[in-house]
């Protein structure tokens, strides 16, 4: 229901800057440094060791959320494959791997106004010096918790928990009207 409502909102001609990202496979991986290194081999990406940075290779990405927490993104329909390869790579390590594919909705905000648009409700400075390309972090947007990632200079990706997504989309439209 939320998805339909978002699509309806996003489908407006004035909303070309906002898109719902197609369904994706998402995992939260938690584990210490050893498990992280092993999981990187299983997932095909060496995970970022720097705080608040994302690593991307092809259509797979790993986002640093905390010192022992990573968000893994991959195209839709790869849950079993990724689970199997990570379970194999992580044998002997203590870790937790949770499928959160349907917990959150991906939104992409792009264009020259993306930065001021998000800055209006996000307490972080989003200029290129403080929030460079490749940075990702959990933060807040209005009253909702989001994961914010900047894959390119004028492109932001938001990962919003499903039940907050309509709120975030409508708030973005509200702000866009005043920009």
């Amino acid at each position: 229901m939320v998805d339909t409502a978002i699509r309806r909102t996003v489908g407006l001609p004035a909303a070309a800057w906002l898109e719902v990202v197609p369904s994706a496979t998402r995992f939260i991986l938690r584990g210490a440094a050893g498990a992280r290194a092993a999981a990187g081999e299983g997932f095909g990406i060496s995970f970022p060791e720097t705080a608040c940075r994302a690593a991307t290779d092809g259509d797979r990405s790993a986002l640093w959320l905390g010192p022992d927490e990573q968000l893994l993104l991959a195209p839709d329909g790869q849950v079993e494959r990724i689970e199997a390869s990570l379970a194999h790579a992580l044998q002997g390590h203590a870790y937790s791997l949770v499928d959160v594919s349907h917990r959150q909705v991906g939104l992409s905000v792009h264009g020259p106004h993306a930065e001021p648009l998000l800055e209006s409700q996000c307490p972080l400075p989003l200029n290129l010096r403080d929030f460079p390309v490749g940075m990702c972090t959990r933060t807040v947007f209005g009253k909702a918790e989001i994961v914010l990632w900047r894959p390119a200079e004028q492109l932001f990706r938001l990962e919003v928990w499903r039940s907050f997504s309509l709120y975030v989309v409508q708030l973005l439209h509200e702000v866009a009207r005043e920009l």
Partner: protein, 97 residues
């Protein structure tokens, strides 16, 4: 907005943090010999410091980690933040800047 230095993520806005009580409260090592008074003290009694206070904070809307901070309760000024498990920094050393 008040900025707090997260030991993992760097300077971040206060909105992302949650206060989590007094730091360095040690659980009695041997519960079987601990008196009810000592348990009550461990569970309920906290300092009400005027001045520099060691306390736990959580970067709940960021990296979600708990860490410790030294904060002046009269000015709300954060003197230092450090990771959980690390010793409390000497207060003279952090008062200078």
């Amino acid at each position: 907005m008040l900025l707090i230095q997260c030991p993992y993520c760097g300077l971040r806005p206060e909105l992302e943090f949650a206060y989590a009580g007094q730091a360095h409260v040690a659980r009695p090592a041997d519960p079987s010999t601990t008196s009810p008074e000592q348990w009550a003290e461990f569970l309920y009694l906290r300092n009400n410091t005027r001045g520099i206070h060691a306390e736990r904070w959580r970067h709940v809307r960021g990296c979600a980690r708990f860490f410790n901070a030294l904060r002046d309760t009269t000015t709300d000024h954060f003197l230092a933040t450090y990771r959980a498990g690390e010793p409390m920094p000497a207060i003279q050393a952090v008062q200078q800047p």
